[in-house]
Structure formats: C-alpha cells, structure tokens
C-alpha cells in the first residue's frame, strides 16, 4: 500500500475521489461522499508519514464505510429514510480505530435499509449497480461497499454481515469479503439489525489488504460487552503458511438445488486447485443446513423487531406530522419512515414473538440454532476449514427478485449458517461466468480467522483471479 510511499495520501485520495466523480453516477455506491473530511485526513496522514510519526499500515489509505456505521457528526442513516439527516453524537469503535490508524474516510456507502436485503434494492434512497454489469445488482446488504471497492471508488471498505451481507456482495462483485466470528469485532456504534448475528468486517481487493484491515478493527472493546477478550493474533504472520497438510471439508449440503452450473464448476475447480496445493479434501455433512434459512428468518426478524422499536420519531430521525397523540405519532412515523422489507421483517418478528406462537417459531428456531452450532463443531473435529460457494448464483438483474421475498431470501442460503453457527467465513474471487464474478467461501472455526485467511491467501496466490477487474475499474487504469 502506501508503505513504500511512492505516492502521497493526498494524491491517492484525489485519484479515488476522481474515480467517484467519474463512475459514481453509474454505480450509485455512495449515499454521502465526505470530500472535505477525506482531504483533511489525507493531509494529516501525509504529515504523519513525512514525520515518520506513528505510521500504521492504514495511514493515509482511503476507506469507505457502510452507512450502518456511525461517524460522529457525519450523517449516518443505515440506508433508511427514518434516519434521514441523523448526525450521530459519537463514532463506532471501528471508526475510532481506523481514525487512530490515520485512515482516510471517503464517505458512507449505500446499503439495504437497516442491512435487510441481498440486492441493495431495499435501500431507502436508490439501488446500487454492479460495476461488472450495470443492469445487475451488486448483492447486499453491503452492496455499496462492494461496488465502491470493485469500481475503484475506494481502496477498501467496511461492511456488516448478519446473514451474508459482506460475503455475498463480495462474491457478486469479485472482491474479498470477510465476516469475522461474532465477538471478534466490536459492534459499538453499528446501527443494530439482529444483535446476536451482526458482525462488522473488511471488504478489499485482495487477501493481504483484508488481513490488514481486520487487524486494525479486531479486538475487545469495553463498550461492547459481547466483544471477546481473546487476544487477536498477528494475521499477516501466518498468511503465507500455505495449505500443505491442511484438511479441507466440502459440505455436501452446500451444493444446493438451484445452484448455477457455472458456479458449481468454478467451486469444484477451486477445490481441486487447493488439493494440488497440498491440502487433503474430504466430503463432510452439515445435516441441518436445510433448516438454517428458516431459523434465520425467525431469529433475525425477531431481534430486528425489538431493535427497531427505538425508531419512534421522538429522540432522532423522522417524525410524522399531524398526529393527534403519541401512539398515533409512533404509528405514522414508522409507517412513513420504514420501507416495505423492513416492515415485513418487523411484522414477521413481532408475530414470531407474540403470545401463542413463541414456542413454535422463536424457541424452535433457537433450538435449531443449537443444532447448527453442533453441526459445525462436529465438522471441525475432522477438518480445518470448510469450502463451498458463497452464493449459488452470479449477480442477477435489477428487479428480478423484488416481487418475491422468499426468492430473495434464498440468495443467502449458504452464507446464513456461518452467522447462526458463530464461525467465520471469507469470500474470495474464484472465476467468472459470462463475465460475472463467482465467490469461493472458506469457513473456519470461531476465532480462527487466521486459518481462513491463510487458505484464502494460498488460493489467491495460486490463481490470477485477483487480477480480474470490473470494466469500470479497468477504464480508470
């Protein structure tokens, strides 16, 4: 990166801001570009670099932040109209950590409203377009972050992943996206969707950048009591250890019905390549994979219905006009402020938690979650890392699935188990089908991020896939 100091942070930042000017109207990746802030931070970073004062790996690097991350005094809306104009009184811990590194903030990236979606079409503002094919979705919910990195509108980005929202858009835009283990990264200042599943993670052009960004944000935070006190290993020190002698498991359930043949072929080729690199491959079973999606669509909406109760039009955000009393003000504010998918999930979650249905839905889903955790435990007794596809399809057309919520939910069928199972998963590019990127998913046990990164790096360096660039990125070069 800037370690060799061939160019200044100001030059790099101006180049990236220039790319945003050139292609921003095509991708619509950003909800807000913070030009002044970026220029000020870049100047500060150059001072720091010149004086050789506390230079960190991310000093001077222009980074995009998903709009669910609070930045003090910078409008943060989680892609929702109900938070239009909301100016956070404090910053997320990950934001503070990047500031301490001397990173440069380019702005807030578009996403599905409150991170609920797999295509970015649920944004309360506008959809994002895939830099590989503008009439297609970039995936979601971190679709703006993915499109920004894939189009050269950011060197790296942060996303959040509740059921695949980092990995799936990374796969669909040909970049590297990592969902760390729940508890590895502080969620303080992350606008909550489902608090037992949400996790912030890095989205980057390659695995080395990913490891560097994760290193910067991982670790205990006293302000998030669910963040783990386990020490954070040095991710770069083990990155190049290769896969020789490693045991890789291929979950047979992850070759789901409806998987596109070109995706399956790319995944099988990738597995063969890892075998050639010296890994041993065996088929494993995660027998409860088929009920992960139903369990998720109870647990996540249930938690969301509780988390989103705070948007009442009283303390911040949108407030409806003309209400006669407080209850009516709540009802109107939420009716006018939330989009259709958010309302669907609030109602689904409220229903699953309501009297008479709690046992059949919520409690049963939490029991199924235990089964999924056990599935991973058993698999990881036999193998070090699990390998499969990230998404069963390549990027689909804008509007193709918006009329059918269930078809949209199926996009996350092989990313959701990692969230429910408290493990970590990374998506790395593993080829193209008709010019559209395919992602390979590598899943490692909880708090073994270094193992996932090690396999991802071995795969990346054994192939040329990281050199593949979207047409928008190529045009800039």
């Amino acid at each position: 990166m800037l370690v060799d100091r061939e160019i200044s942070s100001v030059e790099l930042t101006e180049a990236v801001l220039g790319q945003i000017d050139t292609v921003g109207e095509k991708t619509k990746a950003y909800l807000l570009v913070t030009r002044e802030l970026a220029r000020r931070q870049a100047k500060d970073a150059d001072e720091r670099l010149r004086a050789n004062r506390d230079v960190r790996p991310l000093t001077g690097i222009p980074i995009a932040l998903k709009d669910v991350l609070c930045v003090q005094d910078v409008v943060s809306t989680a892609g929702s109209k109900i938070l239009k104009g909301f100016s956070p009184p404090y910053s997320a811990t990950v934001v503070e950590r990047l500031e301490a590194e001397g990173a440069v903030f380019l702005g807030k990236t578009n996403c599905d409203e409150f991170a609920m979606g797999s295509s970015n079409e649920n944004s309360g503002y506008w959809p994002v377009h895939n830099p590989w094919a503008l009439e297609r979705v970039p995936g979601g919910s971190s679709g703006g972050s993915a499109a920004a990195v894939a189009s050269g509108e950011a060197v790296a980005a942060l996303g959040s992943d509740t059921g695949g929202s980092i990995r799936q858009p990374a796969a669909l835009t040909g970049i590297v996206g990592f969902k760390p283990t729940y508890g590895r990264v502080s969620r303080y200042g992350l606008i909550a969707f489902a608090s037992s599943l949400d996790q912030i993670g890095p989205m980057t052009r390659d695995v080395v950048d990913n490891a560097i960004l994760l290193q910067a944000i991982a670790g205990h935070d006293p302000r998030d009591s669910t963040s783990s006190e386990r020490p954070v290993p040095d991710y770069l020190s083990t990155l190049r250890n290769g896969v020789k002698g490693m045991r890789l498991g291929v979950p047979k359930e992850y070759f789901v019905a409806g998987m596109e043949p070109a995706v399956e072929q790319a995944i099988r080729d990738a597995i063969r390549l890892l075998e050639q690199q010296g890994a041993s491959i065996e088929e494993v079973s995660l027998p409860h994979s088929d009920v992960a999606l139903p369990a998720y669509y109870i647990i996540a909406p249930a938690e969301a219905s509780s988390n989103l109760a705070r948007y009442d039009g009283v303390r911040y955000g949108y407030q409806a006009e003309g209400a006669k009393n407080l209850i009516e003000e709540y009802m109107l504010t939420r009716q006018q402020g939330f989009g259709a998918e958010v309302k669907r999930r609030i109602m689904l979650g409220t229903y699953a938690l309501s009297s008479g249905y709690y046992d059949a839905y919520y409690l049963q889903a939490q029991k199924v979650r235990t089964l999924i955790i056990e599935d991973f435990k058993h698999a990881f007794e036999k193998v070090d890392v699990l390998v499969g596809a990230t998404s069963p399809t390549v990027a689909f057309g804008l509007g193709a699935k918006t009329q059918d919520p269930v078809a949209m939910y199926l996009n996350d069928i092989i990313t959701i188990p990692a969230n429910l199972g408290n493990v970590c998963g990374i998506s790395v590019p593993c080829g193209l089908a008709d010019g559209l990127p395919i992602g390979l998913q590598l899943i490692a046990p909880g708090f073994r991020e270094e193992v996932a990164l090690q396999v991802a790096y071995a795969f990346e360096t054994a192939t040329d896939f990281r050199k593949l660039q979207s047409p928008l990125m190529r045009a800039a070069a």
Partner: protein, 100 residues
C-alpha cells in the same frame, strides 16, 4: 408444542402491526398478509427438525456476566443527545399528549 394457525388472517396482521406500532392501510393488510403467508409457509420447514432433546441457544458466545469497574466516566452531554430531536423544549424531548 402448540401448532400455529394454518393460515395467517387479516385480523392477525392488523394485531401484529398494532403490537409493532406500525401504521398500515387496508390494502397493505392484504398485501402483507399474503406475503407473510408465503414466507411462513417457507419457514415451516423449521418444524421438521427434531429438537426434542436440544436446548435453545441463549447466547452466541459463552454466556457470562460482564461488569465494568465502578468508576465515573464521561457520558454523552445532554446537548449532544438532544441535537437530533425533531422537537424539544429546553433540555427535554417534547412529545405529544399520551392521553387526549
């Protein structure tokens, strides 16, 4: 385990929207009812899993109490907490009458 109703009714949708403090038009009641029925039908696969001997997950990590040291730390100033308020009076959030 009690079986959920076979089909979600319009009345239940209205009830749930009310519980969630979500205003909803008559057209939306029908639309959300149909969509939620479709989603619930897909989710019903959940019941296939044998969970008779399985405890529910109560916490994604090892469950433990987390206590902080009992010392004073800076807190958010009232002005910062109030700066996004749609309506306020002095150092208070202003709300509509709770009863008419």
């Amino acid at each position: 385990m009690p079986e959920p109703e076979s089909e979600l009714s319009s009345r239940e949708v209205e009830h749930v929207a009310r519980l969630a403090r979500l205003g909803i038009t008559p057209d939306e009641v029908v639309r959300y009812r149909d969509q939620l029925r479709h989603i619930l039908a897909a989710i019903n696969a959940l019941k296939q899993a044998d969970t008779s001997k399985v405890p529910a997950t109560a916490h994604p990590l090892e469950a433990r109490n987390v206590m902080r040291d009992d010392k004073r730390e800076p807190s958010l100033p009232a002005e910062a907490a109030l700066k996004n308020a749609p309506s306020r009076e002095d150092a208070y959030f202003k709300v509509k009458a709770i009863q008419e």
